[in-house]
Symmetry: C2
DNA sequence: CGCTGGTTTGACATATGTCAACAGCCGTGG
DNA sequence: CCACGGCTGTTGACATATGTCAAACCAGCG
């Protein structure tokens, strides 16, 4: 197969420079912390980019000149694990940031790739630092992002990396990418579920197939729709 | 047995108010970010406390009036996992902080308990907020702490919650509590190792015993001493 | 000297990983 | 338009790592 043609569908597109004052993320966006002057009139060197599915924003070890704000889509943040496999350590959705370690000057610590087509704002570190001034302001927004990242990491440890495999799969459905009310979530590839649950891909597949047979789960149009009440008792095992 | 007597060995002691300007942690300490006035002369309501082994600083869900700076010792940070067990999500050593989520106003998100006798500074949130002023300064120190917490969480995911059980145990020895040069680390109880590796206590015990029989590991005086070079190949599995 | 709590070891059932075959879907190219 | 090839998901068979239950062991401490 011609990989070039396939790649064309997955290109990165430049959508122009961002108008942070009209950001769809509104008060949630970190760009609100940038200096007024930049946000309002003068063009800031903040680019909006769309990525197709399965594209890398950056890789573990790369020099880190940018911080990324996710506007829409879904990303996975991975690291090389102790046993040589690639482990998913976090998911990123609208409103979250990737590559904040760039502010510390070091290289990126994770590989970040899109799972679905994704829209991001790419912010040069210099801009963010300048915006924050000398004593970089820990705005409530930034602080919330921090807590959120830690919560997400903790959740992957206690919900998705603990206990027997069927429980992990069920907890993924219930807690990882769906809101407490939303009884559906993006249907990841079995490969990705394996990488976040640390369970063999075949085992994940069997569990999912079982749940479908039990009528607790449907997979429609790239999304899982499930029976939350029915799944809950299975999550505790 | 009289639990009271046993408990007496585990009491919390008040060592007086902290003199942050003479903090043993020096430039590493977050207290350096407090306003000069407080740090230098006037007594700040920051208490130094010693905790015996196996004491709780606070519990998941508690109201959160304090942030804790670890001066010496070793703590475990745990959460209730999806399958009902208690999972260790991080370790805390000198220079790290516990309960920073108190700054956000919510309750504590973890239970934090000492593993060995531990010395902490207990900082009321109000003091820290006042010290930081309105736009709380994200000092390089605080930023480093943030990155450090995330790194630690990521490490537990990719090194200690991935792959077969012997590999996890070995990686724990090599990476969790020992520096890259230090070929020794605190000998945790098998119970605690089980809670961080998500592996049955008996399985951990077997692996440790095996390593000892192979001459790769000794347990002396509450510490593990190991042969790093000999262990390294086992870490990759 | 006899508890007590932690560790080690044994025996056993089973969950899980591995290897391999097969099915379904989609895009490609004839 | 259809046939082919390549992915992804599903299923099967099987070896084995791991959890569970239970007993023996050991050290510290009263």
């Amino acid at each position: 197969m011609d990989t070039v043609i396939k790649a064309r569908k997955r290109l990165v597109d430049w959508l122009g420079q961002a108008d942070c004052s009209a950001c769809a993320l509104g008060g949630e966006a970190v760009c609100q912390d940038l200096p007024r002057a930049r946000r309002d009139g003068a063009p800031a060197p903040i680019d909006q980019l769309t990525y197709g599915a399965h594209m890398a924003l950056y890789s573990e070890g790369d020099a880190a000149p940018y911080v990324f704000a996710v506007r829409d889509g879904l990303l996975k943040m991975t690291q090389l694990a102790g046993n040589g496999t690639r482990r998913i350590v976090r998911f990123l959705q609208a409103g979250q940031m990737a590559g904040l370690e760039a502010l510390g000057g070091g290289p990126y610590r994770h590989t970040v790739e899109t799972i679905r087509p994704t829209l991001v704002c790419r912010i040069p570190v210099a801009v963010l630092k300048e915006g924050a001034g000398n004593g970089m302001a820990l705005s409530p927004r930034l602080f919330q992002l921090w807590l959120r990242s830690l919560d997400d990491a903790d959740k992957i440890i206690r919900q998705l990396s603990t206990g027997a495999s069927p429980g992990r799969v069920v907890r993924f459905l219930l807690y990882a990418l769906s809101g407490p009310d939303d009884d559906s979530c993006v249907a990841l590839s079995r490969e990705d579920m394996s990488a976040v649950l640390s369970v063999a891909m075949e085992t994940v597949s069997r569990t999912i197939a079982d749940l479908k047979r039990q009528g607790l789960l449907r997979e429609v149009n790239g999304r899982f729709h499930f029976n939350r009440a029915g799944l809950l008792p299975l999550a505790a095992e």
